[in-house]
Amino acid sequence: MTNLLLEVTGIAKRYGAVTALRNASLSVRPGEIHALMGANGAGKSTLVKILTGAVRPDAGTILVRGEARDLRSPSAARRSGVVSVYQEPALIPDLDIEANLRLTATPVEAFRAALAELGVSGLSLRALPRAMPLAVVRVVDLARALAQEPDILLLDEITAALPADLTERVLEVVGRQRASGRSVIFISHRLLEIAAVCDRATILRDGETVGTVDMAPGAEDRIVNLMLGPSGATLPPGSGQPRSVAHAGQAAQLEARGIAAGTKLKDVSFSLQAGEVLGLVALEGQGQDELFGVLAGSIRPDAGEILVDGRAVRFGHPADAIRAGVVFVPADRAEALLGQRSVRENIALPRSARPARWGPIQVHAEKESVEGAIDRLQIDTRAQSEVRRLSGGNQQKVTIARWIAGGVRTLLLFDPTRGIDIRTKREIYQLVRDLAGAGAAILLFTSELGEIEAACDRVVVIFGGRVVDERLAAGADEPTLTRAAYGLPPGTPAPEEVAAEIAPGAGPAPVGSAG
């Protein structure tokens, strides 16, 4: 007899010759918020797929309320009381919300109640998910899961795409599940969230459960150590010494003046010197996506100008930006990689972009430059015949290597460490510093405010499509940046209600209230 709600033991799963899970276990008590953690490639996502019925394990047992269950499919998992909210929302983009609810036999009233609890009101049931901002879709997906009143709710990186105010709401609602005796399996890379909301955490490493930690002060360090393992724990932390950059005299390598685009990006100006890392901080949907799109040549600005080395330029296509030495690494690796092609072809891709380079490939020159980049980034190329077989961190390195191979001048990095394990994260920040040291100019947007100090020289904060703050990175700690990101003057406390009201959601509506 057991009083555990969910007991998972000895789970193993192999894909061909690759072992994803060797011996994973997890036990969840009733009314518990349980974190599931692990570096990329630790087997976390495989375990999630098994728990949700998307993948069947090769070995191991799953007990729900002490009874063995065979989770054959997502619907079988749901019948056993396990409902999940995935990283990519499970709403059908072309069916309106009502039809989506009908499709999954979700009671509409319970859904409305859950939505209200999450602080979203006035959402039309006729709205199509395809036309809604990602953050709203995720919240709707969560509300749908809550409305089904599952015994075990599995949340996979639920807060990843949410603005801060919604994150708080979601965490609150998650915490409230305890009272009703329901449990939540909470997967996140954000240690602070986990410390705030979870009761215990189970840590996976290399396909094995290496420990379960009670969340108490100081538990974060233990979790990090367990995740990194004996080798990773000895890596030096990211260096945070202040750096000085010569500003006077030379024209900025990249300068933006009054850039506006779409409904979100109103008026952003900044200048970026050679050898400098400029951090960019913003809540979700403040125009940073559009800003990077404009700088990378994917979006045409409605107003403003871009200057490279002091000369005004116009980008009608990413090719124009690349010619001017401005290259872009998107957050979504799926957007940047040729999954079925080799590491080499992926890195060499920009070399043949122009019609003048459509002719025969200079094999030796290409090999040299590609291998140089691979060495530089320490890309694990064991699975190099198809990039999609690489781990997330290695894939991200390939997207960066593509530009390093050609000798980088100005690099636009959009949240390069999103969803990446700590070790790779450190390597990427180190690389950013090294590149800047070698004279590159780097614009770095990151959603991890704590890392601005370590990686950047200066930081610009955008709110409501405008620059609201600019300061040296040294001393720009998380609380300071958070306040600025909410559009509050430094030093003023940020009352939560105020924050909730003015903090723009992912939707464009609040832009008006901010301006």
Partner: protein, 333 residues
């Protein structure tokens, strides 16, 4: 540690073997295809002993070459995630133009006119797909309707002037040198070599794979995708035109529907050859073998005296079986 370590190890061994087989199919797809071709030829020998020989080989090649050239159009477009369903009509058009223009213009000018016309159709396809972003299926079906209509009208105009097959084209399509070597090989071998080189060792070839694999990524890397697509469909149209000339020379006829029967086989040859219809994976060498396999298969079914319907059914079944074996072995689990 685990409940059944033995079973796991055994499973791992199986997994490794399966992975090895997968690797062969993925990296050396030609091997199993050649084995299949060998089996078919073997069956042919069993079915009708003594049939195999230089004459048989020569005729097989002559029939396989136009199909293989059309399959090139299909392979290149499929690599980008597209398809070109106008190739058969374009091939027919090209043959028809050659036949009807020869009396007035002479064979060389006639062929030139035909190829330019094919190129223009390809250009329109390319602009539609690349610039206006029309789905390749829709664009090329639409263009084949347009071309078909134009040929029929043209046919009516030209009905008085008569048509004849230029001896040069007949030589190319159906002639042989030294008794057995099909003359079409003199055209096909260099053509195939150029195509293989393009796909493997040129920037343009890389971009075909890149666009088919992930268009957004190609764009972010500075590729102007429309340029690639326009060039691709022009090339595809040109290849279809060449195939039409060869096929006209082979069959010694020219009608508006001459090459219609080659449309689905051209797709089938590329699919059998291992080119993914979703783009990003495949190559021309497989399509060549695929074209030969389909030709040998047709002969085999004829030799076995299968009635026409059964032949058609088996043809379809075999395409399905090969494609399915292929996807099962290379596919992700």
């Amino acid at each position: 540690m685990t409940s059944a370590p033995g079973a796991l190890q055994g499973g791992a061994r199986d997994g490794r073997r399966a992975a090895a087989i997968r690797r062969i199919f993925r990296d050396r797809p030609l091997l199993p295809l050649l084995v299949l071709l060998g089996l078919l030829i073997g069956s042919l020998q069993v079915a009708q002993p003594g049939m195999l020989g230089p004459a048989w080989a020569s005729s097989t090649i002559r029939f396989a070459v136009p199909l293989a050239i059309l399959a090139a159009s299909q392979t290149l477009t499929m690599l980008t995630g597209g398809i070109d369903l106008s190739v058969a009509t374009v091939a027919s058009m090209s043959a028809y133009i050659v036949f009807t223009q020869t009396p007035a213009q002479g064979p060389w000018v006639a062929v030139a006119i035909a190829l330019v016309a094919a190129l223009v159709v390809g250009l329109v396809n390319g602009v539609g797909v690349g610039v206006f972003r029309v789905h390749p299926l829709v664009m090329t079906i639409g263009m084949s309707l347009v071309v078909l209509g134009l040929i029929t009208v043209y046919q009516r105009i030209m009905v008085a002037s008569g048509s004849r097959i230029p001896p040069e084209v007949a030589w190319l399509g159906s002639g042989t040198s030294f008794g057995v070597i099909p003359n079409s090989l003199f055209l096909f071998i260099p053509l195939a070599a150029v195509l293989l080189f393009i796909l493997r060792r040129t920037g343009f070839g890389r971009l075909l794979y890149a666009v088919g694999d992930n268009e957004a990524a190609a764009r972010l890397s500075g590729v102007r995708v429309w340029q690639v697509l326009v060039a691709l469909y022009v090339l595809s149209g040109l290849l279809a035109g060449i195939a039409g000339v060869v096929y006209g020379g082979l069959t010694n006829t020219a009608t508006a529907a001459l090459a219609d029967g080659l449309l689905l086989p051209s797709v089938a040859a590329a699919v059998i050859g291992g080119t993914s219809i979703f783009g990003g994976r495949g190559g021309y060498e497989g399509s060549i073998v695929g074209a030969v396999i389909l030709t040998v298969l047709t002969t085999l079914l004829t030799v076995l005296q299968m009635p026409e319907p059964v032949r058609v059914i088996l043809f379809g079944a075999i395409i399905l079986v090969v494609a399915s074996a292929y996807s099962r072995i290379t596919g992700e689990t």
